[in-house]
Amino acid sequence: MPAAEMHLKTLMLAALAGDKAAYHGLLGAIGEQLRRYFRRRLPQSDANVEDLVQETLIAIHSKRGTYDTALPFTPWLYAIARYKLLDHLRRSRLRRTVSLDDAGDLFGGDENEAMTARLDLEKLLAALPPSSQEIIRKVKLDGLSTAEMAAKTGKSEIAIRVGLHRGLKALSEQVQEGRDRADQ
């Protein structure tokens, strides 16, 4: 068994037993590995690398119960990283093809009714990960608090706050892209 695997697995088992220091050390070590993993595969876009690292750390945190302690830790970790990477690539492809040519209309037209605006927003939301979509809908459109949302979805409040932060950031990037496109 490689030393890295043994080290990470020891930390993971301690973390699952409630050792917070071990968990902190584990997430830090995983963060380093993930950054290298994503950087090697997404060389041209550094901002996305850090986003993906954070998203994957949250996934690891919220899905830690799916780790079978009888199995090695590294394959579990990289299966999640790979899933997040493919999901990211699929979404960025979706963003380019379904694209947000209509995003400019959201601000271009002055006669937009609430309904049309909501439909445009739905279009923008569709390019976000489903978890972020739901968070933005519930928290920003329906007015739930992050604590209520956490209780409702069974996720931790930090996951909700990070999801909201990341979702809004992605939304504003898309709108900006739409504007740039409209300006050209």
Binding site: G65, L71, P75, Y78, R82, I158, V162
Partner: protein
Amino acid sequence: MQTSDLIAELASEDSRTSRRGAAMHLLGPLVAGGAVSFVAMWMWLGIRPDLVHAIGTPSYWIKFAYTLVLAALCFWLVERLGRPGAQTARARRMLAIPLAVIIVLAIAQLATAPATIRMHLTMGASANVCPWRIVALSLPILIAAELGLRRLAPTRLIGAGAAAGLLAGAAGAWIYAFHCDESAAPFVALWYTLGIAAVGALGGASGKWLLRW
């Protein structure tokens, strides 16, 4: 937000997990979906009137065991597919066992039967409705299985969806067998299996969208 801040916040939460969590995430919704399906079978089709008599015959138990063993093996496969990086080859190979057994039984029955009733052993009286009813009764279980699977972490969505579909199909067929009075092994091997496979296909097709997390 800085990654180091995120790590500090995540690490401040309780990192303990319950040991039997993963299987329970699946089992809870499945029991609920199965109950819905069973009530639907009862209200819509009714339990076969000769059930008391039928449980004394081996053919009843062949149908019962085929669908239940298949469902149990699929449950195991789905649970593996819900865990990132877990091996699934052994669970997938095991699925061939109940399938092989029912096919061997079907062929043996056909081979030993007089030529004049072979057609009846295969088509029974309900071949045209059997697979459709199995699909219909499996739908609540399929939805339940996919909802449960989403709470785990499937990384191969189409495969995981197909496995959830086979699980739902086998469980739906098991429930349908409380109504269905067909007893020939060739009928079960062909039409039950076809219904189960159709739900598997539905699961695979929907998994790509429904199972994203």
